[in-house]
Symmetry: C2
Subunit: 189 residues, 2 copies
């Protein structure tokens, strides 16, 4: 149910950016929105959603800005684990992610690549933290068109995992990335 | 007025992530949200907001995901141009930007640094595009606490502008970045 609510808010975000209605209609819509916020605020988690354990011991990040199903800012990305250890996700980004006109903000590409490269570097019980991330922009990434992000681990050197990946549209790669992820010693045993 | 609407939607996004109300209340709130979306959708710009010219010839990016005042996903960052050519912005990020529990997603730091480094590299009439961006994560960046991002041009070599910057909290720098920005020949005259 919280996920459905977030989906409704995603549609609202898009309409808020793109609307051309008159001031009276804007005012009426804002009244509804403020009313909904008041209802939802009757009981709130003190700070942020955090990362929680599910009943089967998996961790979930429903509030995450990239994959969180209850975070309206997240597209949300659904990351698939391939048989060979690589990961990928298919997605479309709308008006909310704009940088240059009609294109995805380059920093949003960096956000998505940071997350997906990190997803390849994580191992069960061994969380990884990003050390460095290098992004190379080849050309603009279009809004409103099918995109795919994919990543895999290139090599492992002691506590460092080197991951590479890219975002592509139907014509090919638009942005490439390399990340160095660190497995803290305390989690290595 | 559109900016006030976006501000209301930002509050709604935060409440959507953090709410703990029951299903009946969620359903009622969702009804209001869907009603507001329907009202705003009576007249929509076809695709995204784009970058527009104001009456005094300045370009505005009200739909931009980092600085866009009418984009609810944008914090929005207010970038100040310092006397020495550097830029800075003060901001606080809430639950909508979470990665690790209670911390800003590393990719959101990359998004903000990409934008602010780019802002130093832009010259009037000479738009710059990001070539590469390198992010170095020193430690976690906290949610809900005052942050400052700052950047400046380090050097210029032909069509390439090298910009550097960082994000800091009260204890110091959390993330550093270097970017190489390209001024396309056609815009150089």
């Amino acid at each position: 149910m919280n996920e459905q609510l977030a989906q409704s808010v995603r549609r609202l975000i898009d309409a808020t950016i793109r609307t051309e209605v008159d001031v009276a209609t804007l005012t009426a819509a804002q009244g509804k929105i403020d009313g909904a916020t008041e209802q939802l605020s009757a009981s709130l988690i003190p700070v942020s959603f955090g990362v929680r354990q599910t009943s089967d011991g998996q961790s979930t990040a429903l509030g995450n800005v990239v994959i969180g199903a209850r975070n309206p800012v997240a597209p949300p990305l659904v990351i698939h684990n391939d048989a060979d250890g690589a990961v990928h996700a298919d997605f479309v980004l709308g008006a909310a992610y704009e940088g240059p006109a009609a294109h995805v903000h380059g920093g949003v590409c960096a956000l998505i690549l940071d997350h997906v490269l990190g997803a390849t570097a994580h191992l069960p019980g061994k969380p990884a933290y990003t050390g460095t991330l290098t992004i190379r922009y080849l050309r603009g990434t279009p809004l409103g068109q099918p995109l795919r992000v994919q990543a895999h681990v290139d090599r492992i050197d002691g506590p460092k995992t080197f991951a590479v990946g890219h975002i592509a549209d139907a014509e090919g790669i638009t942005v490439e990335a390399e990340g160095v992820f660190i497995h803290p010693r305390k989690a290595q045993r």
